[in-house]
């Protein structure tokens, strides 16, 4: 039994495709049956459509990559009209990932999504790529408290808040988000990093910094997930560098209810399926009936 329940939503299994790495799901249906997934978190949405950042958007680093997409997306309205109908048909939990640069925008967008068929609203308070605001919400827990509280009022959907690893104090951040009404916490988003092109003597990215993801960040992400699991009572969805079923099990043993797979989708388009099947085989081998038996077991 790989199924898990996240704030009232039943997932077939704990493996969710992470926001920004899986489009709206359709791109992957050539490679595997996406209904096998526990859920799909949409590309990060904003109230208004966004073209995202100019210049280089990706730079590969050791065991990871840096991205500076800057929330390119069609906007919430177009999402609901053009993308959501297809996502609904995928027969997996639909998570709308919502970003923003002002509280007003967050609230308006959340209210629109509230009336849609999405299963969970994942509030991204952490995208480090948008110059104004985006970063700040995820750094100081008092600021996060405010935006989460306002969004909470605007929606009755299950509300999952996605934390940035760049937060000053990840536990304090998680606690404040829960106080403000989060039904679940997901973490981590990308780590703030920079890269320099020594030939041109310039930063690789126009925004100078960009978000680091992939296997390189796993030990730090796992530590943060473990710490957050120890300080909040809501379900935690862990992520950061997961690329094998063993990684996924580590996050579950650290206390995650579910996990998300991001950058690893670029290694092999059906890697989520490998991870799901790996978890199933591990459970069979070890005689684990339900993931609850091992969730947070290292504590």
């Amino acid at each position: 039994m790989t199924s898990v329940n996240i704030c009232g939503v039943e997932l077939k299994n704990p493996v969710i495709a992470a926001s920004g790495t899986f489009g709206f799901g359709g791109e992957f249906s050539d490679y595997f049956d996406v209904s096998r997934l526990g859920g799909i978190s949409s590309k990060g949405l904003t109230l208004a459509p966004k073209q995202g950042n100019d210049g280089v958007r990706m730079h590969e680093v050791r065991s990871g990559m840096m991205n500076s997409v800057g929330l390119q997306n069609p906007g919430v309205e177009a999402f609901i009209k053009d993308e959501l109908p297809q996502m609904e048909k995928m027969n997996t939990a639909v998570i709308a990932n919502l970003g923003g640069s002002t509280i007003e925008d967050y609230v308006k967008a959340a209210a629109m999504l509230d009336k849609s068929s999405i299963d969970i609203l994942e509030l991204n308070i952490s995208c480090p790529n948008v110059k104004e605001g985006g970063m700040a919400f995820g750094i100081k827990s008092c600021v996060a408290y405010e935006v989460v509280g306002e969004v909470r009022k605007a929606t009755s959907k299950p509300l999952m808040v996605k934390l940035s690893p760049n937060a000053e104090d990840i536990c304090d951040m998680a606690i404040n988000c829960c106080k403000a009404g989060a039904d679940a916490i997901s973490l981590v988003n990308t780590f703030k990093g920079i890269a320099i092109d020594i030939k041109s003597r310039k930063p690789v990215f126009e925004n100078i910094s960009a978000g680091v993801s992939g296997p390189a960040i796993k030990p730090m992400a796992l530590r943060m997930v473990y710490e957050v699991c120890g300080c909040v009572d809501v379900p935690v969805v862990g992520m950061g560098g997961i690329s094998t079923y063993e990684d996924a099990i580590e996050f579950i043993m650290a206390g995650s209810h579910a996990i998300q797979v991001g950058t690893a989708n670029f290694i092999k388009p059906d890697i989520c399926l490998d991870i799901i099947e790996g978890i199933e085989a591990f459970m069979a081998r070890e005689g684990i009936k339900s993931l609850e038996e091992i969730r947070g077991i290292i504590k």
């Binding site: 791109e27 490679y31 995202g52 958007r57 050791r62 290694i267």
Partner: protein, 249 residues
Amino acid sequence: MKSKYIEAAVYKNERISDCVFRLSVKGSFDVKPGQFFMLRAWDQEPLLSRPISVHDVDDEKITFLYHVVGRGTQILSKLREGDDISLTGPLGNGFDLDMLKGKVALVGGGIGVAPLNYLYKKLSMNEGVQVSFHAGYRSQPFGLECIQGSCSLLNIATEDACVGEKGYIIDYFEPKDYDMVVCCGPEIMMSKLMKKCEAAGVPILVSMEKKMACGIGACLVCTCKTKDGKKRSCADGPVFLGSELILND
């Protein structure tokens, strides 16, 4: 052809010039010229697979032509017959053969000839198309398997004058004689040729090379600016009409 993730075996991998290799993988592939595959012949490092255009396809194998520039292509260059390789593809829009009618000029710069070779092969089967080929290299030419001996007009320029004209091929190329130009090469070359074509009023198709992560349209790291907003070069491209694109400089 639906794109797939395939694990296959290397059929042949040979050095054909200083840093250029030709790699074939056995199998039956239905691919449009200008499409590409994400290749991977390693486990963990580098993290991402590498986009490589289709250079040739026949009944029993697919062939890639690649320039060794960094870690990924270095690993490719060490492959031997029978080694494992994975391919995701075919990807991208490819060249729209229906657009290529009348007098068509294919203009390649360096490794940019890779996809044009297969395009030439396909085009030369079509009636009502007259194809000429224009290729520029730093030094020794390569990648002209389907073209040499078959193409009625083949112009070559090399920077060191070892073959053909001395200098850059686009300096010897005049768009106005053609109905359509196709270009694949360094961005600076494509950008210059786009301007030349625009001035001559001749439409041009170019194949964009952007850094890619997913290669399948999901991650949005490979976008280029078009008059119609940012587009994904992996899924909406890599082939774009020059008139759509907004290149820097």
